[in-house]
Amino acid sequence: MQMNRADLLHAYRTMRTIREFEERLHLEFATGEIPGFVHLYAGEEASAVGVCMHLTDRDKIASTHRGHGHCIAKGVEVQGMMSEIYGRKDGVCGGKGGSMHIADLSKGMLGANGIVGGGPPLICGAALTAKTLKTGGVAVAFYGDGASNQGTTLESLNLASIWKLPAIFVCEDNGYAESTASSYSVGGSQAKRAEGFGIPCQEVDGFDFFAVHEAARVAIERARNGGGPSMLHVRLARYFGHFEGDATTYRAPGEVERIRNEQDCLRRFRQQVSDAALLDSGELDVVDREAAEAVELSVRGAKAGAPPTEADLLTDVYVAY
């Protein structure tokens, strides 16, 4: 698919916003001001954005513990997210969810998830809604290589297959589940697993936005046209620890630096659009600055925000209270 300038700028802006968001959180977390667990998505931006560019609010996604990128790509407001991560009342979940539970159903974002493998069954349900109510929507489950070993994920592949659901399974394979390499934990391969359940799988270079974008286009089009589910096996890398605080001693010395220098999806995108003379670097620099400003603003907003009130403890449990 040919992308127009606006699309390209949007893609770049979204990826850059995610990167800024995550790198800033990395710094802010170190100050001790951010509570709880924070899992950063930096390095994997091309996947979230390459997929979500094809989606609108009627399409649904389910995310993981490493959810910020998916949220931003699906259109969740940066300020609401940042405030949520700081536990503020005006966070997108009122401060009750935090980083691991950011959701915005109005944007079709069914939630980050603290349970690995929690999302794929939910996405079968969202896809079933689309199919039953004929909304024309599709549903996308993002999940990691670790999650690919969880029974909930595997069952979901089969359910989507036999029900021909408009579901896309995006396995974001960053090579590790916490400190455990996927070369150790994943028997067989993702593509063969997909085949095992009767689902087509496309191997995708997750450092290349355009590769993701194109593979996602095919899979999503198939789903929208009643062709059933697909899997994308996206190989990529995370730049920070599993969560903030992880010293990542299990990685090879220099492993991340090498990837950052040689494969980084943002750098590669700039290269590609410059080479093809689609966007010039001045425009992109403007986007860089704007993204940085938006994130800076959100951090200031979050720090200035008020925590939830005592009364909030007891609300939102049931529809009645």
């Binding site: 929690g118 039953t132 909930t152 069952e155 449990v317 049931y318 529809v319």
Partner: protein, 341 residues
Amino acid sequence: MSKKSYRTAINEALRQEMRRDPAVILMGEDIAGGAGAPGEQDAWGGVLGVTKGLVGEFGRERVLDTPLSESAYIGAAAGAAATGLRPVAELMFVDFVGVCFDQIFNQAAKFRYMFGGNARTPLVIRAMYGAGFRAASQHSQCLYPLFTHIPGLKVVLPSSAYEAKGLLIQSIRDDDPVIFLENKVQYDEEEDVPDEAYTIPFGEANLTREGRDVTIVAFGRMVKIANEAADRLLKQGISCTVLDPRTVSPLDTGTILDCVQETGRLVIVDEASPRCNMATDVSALVAQEAFGALKAPIRMVCPPHVPVPFAPNLEDLYVPNADRVEAAVRAVMGFKARELA
């Protein structure tokens, strides 16, 4: 109004709600039956025939047979509920919850709170519970205390056909995740059940009889057993209130406390395993909130802390019965409260 079985009452509730609201769908293993098979479709209508006939009226788009993958389809029901359907998912035996509990208690139950109130999850999970079917340890459990423990879930225990229909319709119309538990040995029990749709609100206990001396709180099938005991006791001059809370989450604490205030004595009949169960839950409520009214120790009639045995004679010893309820009531009546103080 006509005599209907517990099974028919449930079937009718499903049918009427499916007619009323196209967003209501059913899913579960063999709830139609015969999927992909060469013979009869709707061959089973559920393992004990509860959903029989529904696929004929509503088709396979709304009555979905599932593969043997509870995590996937219970989770799918949760995801569908969060995105615009009102799924009624059947877990068959509640004992199977162990393979899909996450999707219930960490996902569906918590969406609304985790998402700051920005979610609605109108999901019903139907399942069979209870002993007496000679189905042994893995097909006879109650397990409602597990669900009751979890904030965000509602838990319903219909004690008769009439209750089952009204409570199931309420469950389907409710906007929160509801665990609706059917007692498998009651499916053939009949009583008068209105033909039209009606709802029974959650959190309102049913005073199945009023008495002076002792309040008996009983759950699900135990309501009948408690009334059987109360009949006998009346002949002995002991008059009992028998309360059916109908829903254990939410629980009608007000009515329970009011009754205990009046009678001063409490017996609780709970078929669930005795530790951290509803008998302890209600005991604790009363020991905290109506202590001053108590004239005698609270008595719990529960099974022993053992898995459900297979052998019929052992299973019959396991399940609380009217004799044990009667004995418990007589014991609390015989207690000389102030002497010991």
